[in-house]
Symmetry: C2
Subunit: 421 residues, 2 copies
């Protein structure tokens, strides 16, 4: 195979649940993988469970009990990907190619033992490299791994992206292509802002901010992994030949754009505590207690103290609201704090761009835009390449569209997209 | 656990596809297993795929290609049992018990690499014994194993019986209980002969003859395994509390019965070759050629030669008829043999019993019975504890019923069944 003068490239392709949703789509995946192989690449596939399959299995589990042990849930759920790899390998063989399916325990995708959201620690690439050396397309089960003791683990929803990037990193692949049902990363959700535009390129850092802010294209851990190991990551559609979006290292040209994308997150809830005594260590007590319950706190705003008391506002994931409120209620009594209020009708809108580093006044421009639309800002948080505002959820779409226009992201407002690479 | 004076018994229970066919049936299995545990036993379960699941998976495979590689088929099919073990373990936990699912590669059910019909070579019982020592019910995936290279293998239809018996042998279990949708082994198929009677006990040898003759209660290899390792094997219903049938070593009382059961096999086809030259080595050539194509020949009848020619008749599995006829046609030309005829409208009826060893004239009694019913015998074969006759298929039910009565097996004709054990 690799005996020619030029070394063959190694490509990892990942296909999500909708891309392997039925037999004809699997045959489509087989054709794409074989085309990549014929074009002179060694190919490793990572596939998810057929769409709907994970939910079918979860329903079986929940019909027994809503509190099934996570170890056994992982055993059941991991079968979804196992079926897919076998069928995709068969589809490749039926199309005249050579293929070998590989399960998590077979290429030893070693994870910790945190069932249902395990983290990959190590991958033994030998089996995969042996397969591709013999002209096979290796078809690896996404989402699943195995711990030191040989228990089946799963990586959590969207975990197949992480599998793909981790394998690309372990094999030092030339590229990792994530195939999905959209044709790339957009400046914002096209369902919210019809003027949304596909990006040709985006930096890891920006993608990470967008992913963590609720853009559903890539699992956040897969982007972290890609950034850490500098894996060039393509987001492509399995239904078109569009080149997609390249997620890669930042370069000078990216800084021309002040803002690359706008994210909207509706999955947070706000908790406010009034009249918290303004003493050192009080905030640490509250957020320490939340951390103990594994509740992740996002935005935090503390008003300047007035008469020795201050108001504290913060957001948590909506699913954690009840648990978090209980924790805070218990504490507020012993701390002598006042009334607690909660609000689920909120949304977090964020602008993201590496260009912010070199452009001043970006945050102010965002606030001005929201203000001119009559949108009140409930809380603010920023990072080096991001500004997030908490607003009432009824203004969410309006805010996204206004910011999209303001920062020159609307499709019509810009010159034709640059070619990727 | 085993700290008391009396050693706890270890029981392996196997539940087939209908016994785990839906959630409520799995909960039933959980209750039965927990009852056995509460009664003072260590319990290992072996479960099959939910009924219908293997066919669903086979359909997916066949929708791609009818000639899928057996390695990949095994990867897909093995998921059926994986789903079952996870769900049954969850059902046991939900019922208040402790349970751990164990896959073929986790307790290293080592097989050869003959995908789709692999043979078990070795089982590492450590993981299972560790689990039961900690008060867990170990729930093992039937039907699947793993070869030296770590590939998933399957044991063929009915393979879960073999898994159960092999595990019982490896763990030196006190009993292996095969739960199914019938309540034991019958003297013959009750659908054919309404007077059929459930047996309390039957010897391994008899069960082996009955299993290989088409009785569908137990997979033949599981009986061989049980006989080899002297595992006491119970056939029970998962829907009743009937004690079932014990398959065990022959004892003196079994010999009182001349015939224990009557088997009917409709899956054979007859091939006859006329005017085969009566020369040494001709039969060897024909059957050698069939063997090369992995075609199993059952009955063989060769008429005495007349004028240097003889007629050769033999039976093969119906699925092999076309292939076998081709082989024979090719050979018969070069051998100078005559016309070839085939017949699928045949049935093989057999009487089985260890008592035959001590009773003479059993075969003659069988022939007389068939003759008195006007049934012509096309071919005969015998073993030490079996006589088989090939007859026209239209007489099959009549023959079974007549023999069932003749050998005193009819329910009404006999004293009440003895208690097992």
């Amino acid at each position: 195979m690799a005996s020619g003068g030029r070394k063959r490239k190694l490509i990892v392709q990942k296909y999500g649940g909708t891309s392997v949703g039925d037999i004809s789509r699997m045959q489509n995946v087989a054709r794409r993988a074989l085309a990549a192989q014929r074009a002179g690449n060694d190919v490793v596939l990572v596939v998810s469970a057929m769409s709907g399959e994970t939910n079918r299995l979860l329903k079986l589990i929940n019909d027994i009990t809503p509190t099934a042990s996570e170890r056994e849930q992982d055993v059941v759920l991991a079968t979804g990907e196992q079926v897919s790899v076998g069928l995709v390998a068969i589809a490749i063989q039926a199309a005249g190619g050579k293929a070998t399916s590989v399960l998590g325990h077979q290429c030893r995708i070693l994870t910790d033992s945190t069932h249902s959201k395990a983290r990959i620690q190590q991958i033994d690439g030998t089996r995969l490299l042996d397969a591709v050396k013999q002209g096979h397309i290796a078809v690896v089960a996404g989402f699943q791994g195995v711990d030191e003791a040989g228990n089946i683990t799963t990586l959590g929803r969207g975990g197949s992206d992480t599998t793909a990037v981790a394998i690309a990193a372990a094999l030092e692949a030339d590229a990792c292509e994530i195939y999905t049902d959209v044709d790339g990363v957009y400046t914002t959700d096209p369902n919210v802002a019809p003027a949304a535009r596909k990006l040709d390129r985006i930096s890891y850092e920006e993608m990470l901010e967008l992913a963590s802010l609720g853009a559903k294209v890539l699992q956040i851990r897969s982007v972290e992994f890609a950034m850490k190991y500098r894996v060039p990551l393509w987001v492509k559609s399995s239904f078109t030949d569009d080149p997609g979006t390249l997620v890669c290292e930042e370069d000078a040209s990216m800084e021309d754009l002040v803002v690359s994308g706008i994210a909207l997150d509706r999955n947070e809830a706000r908790i406010s505590v009034r009249n918290v005594p303004d003493q050192p260590g009080i905030a640490a007590q509250i957020f320490g207690a939340l951390d103990e319950k594994a509740i992740v706190v996002d935005l935090i705003v503390q008003n300047p103290p007035l008469e020795g008391k201050c108001n504290l506002t913060f957001t948590v994931g909506r699913a954690d609201l009840v648990k978090a409120t209980e924790v805070v209620k218990k504490l507020s009594k012993s701390l002598g704090a006042g009334e607690i209020s909660t609000d689920q009708d909120i949304a977090k809108v964020s602008i993201v761009g590496v260009g912010m580093r070199n452009h001043s006044g970006v945050a102010a421009r965002m606030f001005r835009t929201l203000s001119s639309e009559g949108v009140n800002i409930l809380a603010i948080s920023t990072s080096e390449i991001r500004v997030s505002c908490l607003i009432a959820s009824k203004y969410a779409e309006l805010a996204v569209r206004a910011l999209h226009t303001e920062f020159g992201l609307d499709a019509k407002a810009r010159k034709p997209a640059r070619k990727g690479k």
